[in-house]
Amino acid sequence: MTDEEFYKEALGVLRDAESYLLSLIGQYRDSSPIISCKSRIKSAQSMVEKLERQGFEITLQSALEKVYDAVGIRIICGFVDDVYHVSEWLENCSGIEIIHRKDYIAYPKPNGYRSLHLCLRIREGTAAGTLAEIQIRTMAIDFWATLEHKLKYKHKIPHEDLIRRELKRCADEIAATDMSMQTIRDMLADENF
């Protein structure tokens, strides 16, 4: 099924939502800027799979109302503190309403995944009412996530336990480096240093 067949006339609204959020994020100004920002509309195929997995009806309505990430934005930052600054800034934007915030940096998933997720509803413009998800993470963790993501789509993983354990160890090591980098940046910013 193509995206047009599944999303029908809603596809235009989803695209509006995507560009609304991208232009909103474009307004973020900080001495430590966002490194990159990616977006996507969830493909019809992965949307159907997700609805099935979560036990929802396979309809356009569930895709738009039950699942938050038909529109998905990913923001990559340099440092851990930047992730929280961007998140705070977004939480204070009047054009969007944050429905919930999941802090997987403070409380990582068992596999070691670390990101900050904001589930939101757009309040204004042609996409008003549309749900979306924004993921914010550090560059280092994004690097880790690219490999972890590959496991999800691999049906047979040789020595799976070992691989998952080692990947978790890498996540803990990367997160530790992120923390040390943040500590050094704080030291450099400290006038008493």
Binding site: A106, Y107, P108, R169, D172, E173, A175, A176, M179, S180, Q182, T183, D186, M187
Partner: protein, 223 residues
């Protein structure tokens, strides 16, 4: 656990083999020094029991040969009760322990257990202070919510702090233990590593923290 027994008195050897096997050791028995060296070269043992007085090569010669070749296998030598010179000579030649004949088999078993225990210290245990755990095997610092893998020196510092909770640990002590007394490193490095650890403890929602003590050092305290 596999042991080599070199004892030329057949009846004593047979009795010891029976006792050792009953205690779940597997035992190779040989009756002279040359055979002992041959077996020790060809197999891997967890320990060896060598009688001093043996034909072909005596126990001390076997022991010296092993050590000269770099074989550090734990060794107990069996000596005659009166012979202090044998005991001293045996220990100086690299024996881990000695036992004077006649001996009680229970004592021999206890000495074997000690010898093997010293050789294989028990696995290092996971340390816990407050809601924080430190795993020496994986270098993992963790709480219920998250975990980090520490760099080597961070781990060593955290280990010192967690083994001495609530005690003042002076900066000089960290320098000496972690960096070595003449490493030429500035003392600031201790503060840098303390800062790394503090940040991580905070991110783990720790209920312990590293407090400054009058510019002298640090103390791990419960919040």
């Amino acid at each position: 656990m596999k042991l080599l027994l070199a004892e030329d008195e057949k009846s004593l050897s047979n009795a010891l083999v029976t006792i050792l096997e009953k205690n779940h050791y597997s035992v190779d028995a040989v009756y002279d020094g040359a055979a002992a060296l041959e077996y020790l070269a060809a197999n891997v043992y967890d320990g060896a029991i060598l009688d001093v007085m043996m034909p072909k090569a005596d126990g001390i010669t076997v022991l010296k040969t092993l050590r000269r070749e770099g074989n550090m296998i734990p060794v107990i030598i069996l000596t005659a009760r009166s012979d202090i010179a044998d005991k001293v000579n045996g220990l100086d030649s690299g024996a881990n322990d000695y036992l004077a004949k006649p001996f009680d088999s229970r004592e021999l078993l206890a000495r074997i257990r000690t010898m093997i225990r010293v050789q294989n210290p028990p696995d290092e245990k996971v340390m816990q202070t407050g809601n924080i755990q430190l795993n020496p095997e994986t270098l993992e610092l963790s709480s219920e919510s998250s975990s980090f893998r520490l760099a080597g020196k961070e781990f060593q510092m955290m280990e010192i702090l967690m083994t001495n909770p609530d005690s003042l640990i002076e900066t000089d002590y960290f320098m000496e233990k972690v960096w070595g007394s003449d490493c030429g490193e500035e003392k600031q490095v201790v503060w840098v590593y303390i800062s790394f650890l503090r940040k991580k403890l905070k991110a783990l929602h720790a209920n312990i923290r590293i407090a400054d003590v009058d510019r002298k050092g640090y103390r791990l305290v419960t919040v």
